[in-house]
Symmetry: C3
Subunit: 270 residues, 3 copies
């Protein structure tokens, strides 16, 4: 096991995002569109939300990364997700898939699995129950909240990573990021993060922004989780509850300095 602090690229990636303002194309759910657009803006990226089949290929072609999030799925959007995914593959930009609620209903599980085949993602980012639902038959979850821990899910994450040929990022008390060979653990974060809607979806869009500037998707995914967790710890110090936490969290992401990362980063590679 190796301490990654010495060679961490979190700060380097964040500086690139702030300098290059990569356009991140999102096909995502109604609940978090505002939240994740703001999260991308505060770290210096440029968000765009577009879901019409008439424009998703063109928009994906303008972008540096594509987010597909099935949080408030409907049949009409699946077609757009597939189209945008294929355009992103052709252009060679990273796709980050967030299988929100996979395992809760057959519709979501089957759609997520079908997206794995049609538009294989560069990174899958979900909670433990969602990740398990993509490899285990009859895996169930409770709505959109996980009933498993990330550590319980390491084998499933590694299996999924090998089957799809992508990085798998499992959020939880400890975040796990695997690529089939290596496993990175991120121990940053704060319990209040589970009391704000869309924090998982926010992790997903930050993952996409990092993947837009870092060709190692393993590093990109781990760096995004580290940034989330560090901003979460900073925010919790000034919060009175989940709503002021959300405000402080976005402000922390905006103003975060190299020293904040140096003091707080808790990342391990195995």
């Amino acid at each position: 096991m190796l301490d990654m602090l010495e060679k961490s690229t979190v700060w380097q990636d964040l500086q690139k995002i702030r300098a290059e303002a990569p356009l991140v194309h999102n096909i995502t759910n109604y609940v978090v569109m505002n939240t994740t657009a703001n999260a991308l803006l505060v770290i210096g990226a440029s968000p765009v939300m577009a879901h019409a089949p008439e424009e998703v290929e063109e928009m994906a072609n303008l972008a540096k990364a594509l987010v597909i999030n099935i949080g408030t799925l409907s049949a009409a959007w699946i077609d757009s997700m597939m189209k945008a995914g294929r355009a992103a593959r052709l252009k060679g930009i990273p796709i980050v898939l967030d299988p929100v609620g996979s395992g809760a209903t057959r519709f979501r599980t089957e759609t997520a699995q079908s997206l794995l085949r049609t538009a294989p993602p560069s990174i899958i980012r979900g909670n433990a129950s969602e990740i398990r639902s993509l490899v285990l038959a009859d895996q169930r979850t409770k709505g959109v909240d996980s009933v498993h821990s990330s550590e319980e899910t390491i084998e499933e994450a590694q299996a999924l990573s090998r089957i799809v040929g992508c990085v798998v990022s499992v959020s939880g008390r400890t975040d796990l990021v695997v690529d089939g060979i290596r496993t990175i653990r991120v121990m940053n974060g704060h319990p209040l993060m589970s009391r704000v809607t869309g924090m998982g979806c926010t992790a997903t869009v930050l993952t996409a922004a990092f993947a837009a500037v870092n060709p190692s998707f393993l590093e990109a995914a781990a760096n995004a989780m580290a940034l989330m967790g560090i901003a979460g710890e900073m925010a919790a110090e000034h919060s009175l509850g989940p709503a002021s936490f959300e405000t402080c969290f976005l402000d922390a992401l905006y103003s975060l300095q190299e020293s904040d990362i140096r003091c707080r980063l808790r990342m391990e590679i195995a």
Copy 2:
């Protein structure tokens, strides 16, 4: 008229919600999805938003309560509301209907009335104009804001309650909750609540969370309005305007203690 403080179940219900984290399935409008998901999370419930006809029955079957809110209605969603409503009835979980904007357009009034027949709710929660539009022909309202007071609407609320066989909760300066026999008045609240979008819809989802843990829907509906009003009063003491109020309101819902209820509750039963 009886002071309900002695036998109030607000705190008991809130503790149950925090302990059991009931899953609340929402088919609701785009404007408030984020707000109401956060309101459910801060009181300890588990929200899920799902509207696709392919999954609403399955999702309702996982849930402990169903919210149907017609705030940004379209034809495709009505079918899902009916389907989810029927599944909820079969499973025996409470349905809370929020007829947002009923009375403003024929489309909304007719849809709300049709939902009363197809998937009779356990509780209807709306403002005075919306409630009136469900019993009076040619009742009009201005957009989604009420032009009547709750006290002016007591007879219509009682009539609606008897016709549908459900609890009717009318929000206003004084909140009225009726079940055809009894009338509960909740006098908590603050004028800033009318300057934040989605406060009515938030009352609706809290009503659903309370109905998930309290089999008396009359009590559940009144307790939810009391919790709203108490958190509103607490928030107003630390707010500079509607936006900081919204933050303080959610934080207050999160951290609210038994003593806050004991000091502030203003509920009367007649």
Copy 3:
């Protein structure tokens, strides 16, 4: 060039909005629905969001202004935009068009141009790249962010104004408002405004509220941009980052007094 402070109608219009609470009908994008509903509420207007073809004409008929915003466009919504636009024209209420992302994809550019013909707006409010895309062939933009300054776009804005016969409002470091004859410049604002999603869309809905009470659409559009900028400056003095800025901004809009306008207004007419 004339200093407009003496005869500014910003405060007079704001008082009218607070007194009359004009109903503003919005057909807008998913990202900003909550934000813009709150912005309308804090200045005293009454927002309603409705997009179903079954009800948009009826809703537009209840309203004092109509907002059409193509931010998360899909084919089904275009029909509703056209219908609502025609109803608004017939009733004689102002239409404010926000061509979000026009220039980024053919679908958005063509839809915006088609809306200019079918339901000619009273005011077009967009960023420089969006405005340019409506008059220049093959004008491209990056997602929904502008790659041009407003000053570079004055000729295009004037041309667009003359072709459509409407006021054109171009937001940027300096906001430009033109009607084909006169040009108003608003120099209020703060850089943090570009780090919060939906600030452009908020400018659009405030423009609609001002147009609901001021028959001079040139003045209405300029006054809305001035109010935005002044509230932005006030908010920036109490913010730690974009998220606390957004809260302070809405609170400032709510509590803004005549003296704030008198001290801060920087508007010039040429």
